[in-house]
Symmetry: C2
Subunit: 213 residues, 2 copies
DNA sequence: TAGATTGTTAATCGATTAACAATC
DNA sequence: TAGATTGTTAATCGATTAACAATC
């Protein structure tokens, strides 16, 4: 509703990180933090932290710092963490099952409501209380269970096909763990977790050539 | 050996992505590609692609484009993908086992040689042919098996402890899947895969406020 | 040769840092 | 009040885009 100036992608990524550190400090019963202290903890310049916070609001107290509960609330609101996002997993293989077994997402308001697969041997099984359902029932399940996010954990050769099914079923966001990029219409949002990109980046960093003085 | 001007982090990430697309084109028996075509496929401007390629060498052919096999080799070399990187997994829980079950890393020269855990029930088991070993044997295993990369898949409360053990054992790179950031000396390289950061970014993108016209 | 596309420089755009007045 | 730290503007730095001469 308010007129927001656009916030850059780099700032968004840092905001998600601030949020983690804020929760950490919260659990240690810290009540207030300065941009200097937070910057020291996170390896980010105090100046940049203030720029980031001011990009989404104005909630510091001059001469004191930032109240952690306000900070958490403001960043959480901005990132959309104030509401529940129901998720489903497409592909009940190793990775899909691992994600279903992890309770951390549920705890922060991102519960996994079902896994979908085409393998008849898997259908009907429960993983950590979450049922594996036949892919044929995807569309109605999404509608009836208020599903926002589809987690893609399928093999390369059927990634786009599964994406199209999700889009057709009205999904709003796709968390893509598969090895390929996907094409979606503009109103569907995609976040990729690409293991290969990540591993190859690590490889580069470890490269001797790079590490010359 | 050559004097390399530093290549920016954004360029590195894109290079890993080019590499994926090049392999894809390779498998379709394409032999040559122009920055224009590749840019169209990847949603990156041709100009930026040429800048990226020229940051690591000079291997296009004016009027024609880039030979895919040269391109693959040059980028691969630059990223350090020309040699085998032996890996181990710390923490043989769900995620650790899932990674061990995935053969894709092995195929590109990043084999997982062992999993480590402290749970006696797990020790001795094999996952996809990879043994789960007692953490006590970590140091000697790293030395004797030429291990480069440690994959961290442990719970928050022992992440830093495990990191210190890895560092002490002489690991060169850490692929960190745990929920917290870690501290390492400068000569140890870290690449984080933080699910929470990624999920929260997706949450932001799906946020209505952001999607106002 | 003519056409296409690179390699590279210059121009623009955006993100980070520095600095400091405002103020708690 | 004095000290501390924010909010914000200006300066710097870096990354992307545009343009075009070089050349295959």
């Amino acid at each position: 509703m308010e007129k927001d100036k656009t916030v850059s992608n780099t700032t968004i990524r840092r905001l998600t990180k601030y949020y983690r550190y804020i929760e950490e400090l919260n659990s240690k019963n810290v009540k207030i933090v300065s941009s200097y202290t937070l910057g020291k903890m996170m390896g980010i310049s105090p100046s940049l932290i203030r720029q980031d916070f001011n990009a989404i609001g104005e909630f510091g107290r001059q001469g004191h710092g930032y109240q952690l509960d306000t900070l958490k609330q403001e960043i959480g609101n901005f990132l959309g963490l104030n509401k529940v996002h129901n998720m489903i997993v497409i592909g009940a293989g190793n990775l899909g099952q691992t994600l279903a077994n992890y309770d951390g997402f549920d705890k922060v308001g991102f519960p996994i409501k079902a896994l979908f697969d085409i393998n008849p041997k898997l259908i009907g099984m429960k993983i950590n209380g979450v049922e594996i359902i036949d892919l044929d029932n995807l569309k109605s399940f999404i509608k009836n269970n208020n599903i926002d996010i589809g987690i893609l954990c399928v093999r390369k050769h059927c990634v786009q096909e599964m994406t199209d099914i999700l889009v057709d079923a009205g999904i709003k966001g796709i968390w893509n763990f598969s090895a390929t990029d996907i094409n979606v219409p503009d109103d569907v949002k995609v976040e990729n977790v690409n293991f290969s990109n990540s591993l190859f980046t690590l490889s580069y960093l470890m490269n001797d050539k790079y590490n010359l003085a």
